[in-house]
Symmetry: C2
Subunit: 199 residues, 2 copies
Amino acid sequence: MVITIGREFGSGGRELGRKLAKTLGIEYYDREIITEIAKNTAFSEQYVKQVIENNPHDLFPISVAHTFSYIDTNTIFQKQKIFSEQERVIKKMAAASDCVIIGRCADYILKDFNPLRIFVYADMDSKVERCLKRNESAENLSRKKLVKKIKSIDKNRARYYNYYTGEKWGDPLNYDICVNTTSVSIDDIVKSLSKMVKG
Amino acid sequence: MVITIGREFGSGGRELGRKLAKTLGIEYYDREIITEIAKNTAFSEQYVKQVIENNPHDLFPISVAHTFSYIDTNTIFQKQKIFSEQERVIKKMAAASDCVIIGRCADYILKDFNPLRIFVYADMDSKVERCLKRNESAENLSRKKLVKKIKSIDKNRARYYNYYTGEKWGDPLNYDICVNTTSVSIDDIVKSLSKMVKG
């Protein structure tokens, strides 16, 4: 049983995934993927994280006159290398045991494993509330700036997903089930989903 | 327990709703709603069906010079009357017993009942396949014409929903859970959902 979880920032998707894995007694992979990629390449965790979590176009240096060619090719190469390694790591994890994998195009990468592909979303108000509760992501930002931050993170997730998969992030057709966390507790959703998944 | 089901044409949403109601042992309301509205108004079932299933703008007569005013007002009045009656009938059904209600803006109308709002969708190929299997909706149409028919029915559903609710039909935020029937059998989904719902 392989479950992939795509999620809007602030929707509680990561918490949902962690708790679902715990309830089902299966592995949970999230940031572990970055650590594993860094271990297997020459790149630092920091750099891998930057490549995976940022707009894929951000890493392209701005071209100045005729001087961009070498750096550009090199950057593309590094990104491709990281994506290939991500693909290898995620496939290895899924092959090793039942697991929940958060984000990182796992739904696309694991197509042949026929995973249960879940997408977690919520309305903006409840995402802001959730961020405010877990202080770390709110960073004392004003409500307005928090909305901007949430939108910007999701925009990068979408760009990354669309860039590597050629599909549209968040498009319901790319998932088997989409779950709205706006007015239900994550614990209740996990209870329902785990019953559903156990079959 | 009140469950509302919005669905794309050909996605198997109606079958899913009927089987889910049967599995849960609760009432199932679909075309019964139209019969009930007709019973309580001066309109025929045929007319009620036309109002509910067609583009709400279709019923507006084309205005010719200065002659449109009376007919126009009358048509709007009839449509409002049917929608009010639909609202009354659906609320009465939900208040009477646990049930599954298909379409008809029930998710919006029953807001105060806090229903489980399900949206059922699928990719175009599988919707065409489903229509071809249940001959009645395919009507010996070519594949191309069937796609056109599916799109047109959903366009009308969207227009009707958007017109009366001010919300966007099919927008995941209007539902608690969205289910993709592309590559799973309806029976399997019903099994999972009923386990999930029983809690």
